[in-house]
């Protein structure tokens, strides 16, 4: 954590106040522009660094009832201890678990199977809340792992039949309309150039839209000052869809993340980001 990053997070909280106020008044477009400018300036002193650093510590520490480190036990698909590029190759099929898993789910699996943590304990509060001063361990860990794939291309292996199948299932799920408002993911994300209020909605079916959907996750969210993962985004979109809550680290979420990430294959991942 550099001094610059510390300053950045202070500046950030000031900015959030201003942005929030601006958004209540007329000048939304302006606030959006300011935010983009601010994000560009923060690019190399991203508050996500803080969380990645904690994640690095956690990754190497001997923890859990079995007192082992993830570093010496957890295979993210490229071999134990190999982290570079692991994030952009997930979701992928893991033989030991006989399941396709996204990065967050895979780390949870390792925490449970290798370190002996209880899944229920992790799933009880998997995401950082607005009043929390600290992110859950799993968020820090995902941020660290994601950081290790910075500047690499997304490369989900659709030639693997198991990955292909969950991809196709994801494609079904984004089209599934139900609930009181008859919404599907694609009600909001199935067409180019749509907005809900001032928020741009990426078209997840197209490479450019899918790229917007996956870049910058996990992300530091300025509103509330919280570090959030891609799983969180799925959770909150289902909320907006007026659906019940998706189970944490489930096939349901993996299917959506597989669909989106594979549609973004070939796009260069820029590392954990900043979100409005």
């Amino acid at each position: 954590m550099t001094m610059k990053a510390v300053l950045a997070s202070t500046a950030l909280s000031l900015f959030v106040g201003v942005a929030a106020h601006a958004q209540e008044t007329i000048d939304h477009a302006k606030a959006h522009e300011e935010f983009e400018k601010f994000r560009a300036e923060m690019e190399d002193s991203n508050p996500a660094e803080l969380f990645a650093l904690k994640g690095q510590e956690l990754w190497h520490a001997k923890r859990g009832p079995k007192n082992v480190s993830l570093h010496e036990t957890c295979d993210l698909g490229l071999g134990i201890g190999k982290l570079e590029g692991a994030y952009v190759h997930m979701p992928r099929y893991f033989k030991d678990a006989d399941a396709v898993m996204d990065a967050e789910r895979r780390i949870v699996w390792c925490m449970v199977e290798k370190q002996g943590f209880k899944f229920e304990d992790i799933a009880k509060k998997p995401f950082m809340g607005a009043n929390d001063t600290q992110a859950p361990d799993i968020t820090n860990l995902v941020t660290y792992i994601a950081e290790k794939s910075r500047n690499m291309k997304f490369a989900v292996d659709l030639k693997d039949p198991k990955v292909r199948e969950i991809y196709e299932i994801g494609k079904e799920i984004v089209n599934y309309r139900a609930g009181p408002f008859d919404f599907a993911c694609n009600t909001c994300h199935g067409t180019d150039g749509r907005r809900i209020r001032m928020q741009n909605l990426p078209n997840l079916a197209k490479p450019e839209g899918a790229a917007k959907g996956v870049l910058g996750w996990p992300g530091y969210r300025m509103t509330g000052g919280v570090m959030l993962t891609h799983q969180w985004r799925m959770n909150d979109c289902f909320r907006q869809q007026r659906f019940p809550e998706p189970k944490y680290a489930s096939d349901l979420i993996t299917a959506l993340l597989t669909y989106m990430t594979a549609n973004a294959n070939g796009v260069v991942y820029k590392g954990p980001g900043i979100k409005r």
């Binding site: 199948e165 799920i173 139900a178 809900i196 001032m198 659906f243 019940p244 809550e245």
Partner: protein
């Protein structure tokens, strides 16, 4: 839901219908996962995942149902509309504007029982003063000025808000009256927002 199918069957060549309703392997697996991987939270129960007749058809035809099916089911949806007993369709545009602004309602973080908002600005441009509007639906600015203020137009707008699927079976717009999100009075207020010549929408 069964009723819809039976009703539809009477009018539609059964082959077309069978094809529209057939579930592929992938879809069946997706449904299984949807059934298994959600949990109820707040007011959002698991029952929300079940498809009603309209959703089932739209989901299985990529929102492009065969015309014969669409016509029958749209008529069904039209029949759900409860018209005001007093015959009046125009409320107060000022209240309508507030309802259009509110995006509240029906999520697991909303308190059940509180009034639901119209969410209209999430998807539509409406009043000229509100620049933070969504673009999922068409612009409704100058709606009355462009489309007319007469009784038929009032009826159309009331019905469209009450049940958008009566006109376009797989419309992305929710069925606000049908699902009990908006009351009769609230829908009248929204009709006035779009059709009162005094409403800023028509200035």
């Amino acid at each position: 839901m069964k009723k819809f199918y039976l009703f539809a069957l009477a009018f539609v060549p059964s082959l077309v219908l069978a094809e529209a309703l057939a579930d592929g392997v992938i879809r069946a697996k997706a449904l299984q996962i949807i059934k298994r991987d959600f949990m109820p939270r707040g007011q959002a129960g698991i029952d929300r995942l079940a498809e009603d007749g309209v959703q089932a058809i739209c989901n299985r035809t990529g929102n492009k149902p065969p015309q014969e099916i669409a016509k029958v089911l749209e008529a069904d949806q039209m029949a759900t509309i409860k018209w005001p007993a007093d015959g009046k369709l125009m409320g107060d545009w000022k209240r309508g504007e507030q309802i259009a602004q509110s995006g509240r309602g029906f999520t697991w973080s909303d308190q059940p029982g509180l009034p639901v908002g119209g969410n209209c600005y999430n998807c539509h441009q409406i009043g000229p003063q509100e620049l933070a509007y969504g673009t999922v639906g068409p612009s409704l600015l100058h709606f009355g000025k462009l489309r007319g203020y007469g009784p038929d137009m009032q009826k159309y707008v009331f019905a469209k808000i009450y049940n958008a699927k009566a006109f376009n079976l797989c419309s992305e717009m929710p069925r606000f009256g049908r699902i009990g999100a908006l009351t009769e009075q609230q829908i009248k207020d929204l009709v006035a927002l779009l059709l009162d010549p005094e409403s800023p929408v028509n200035k």
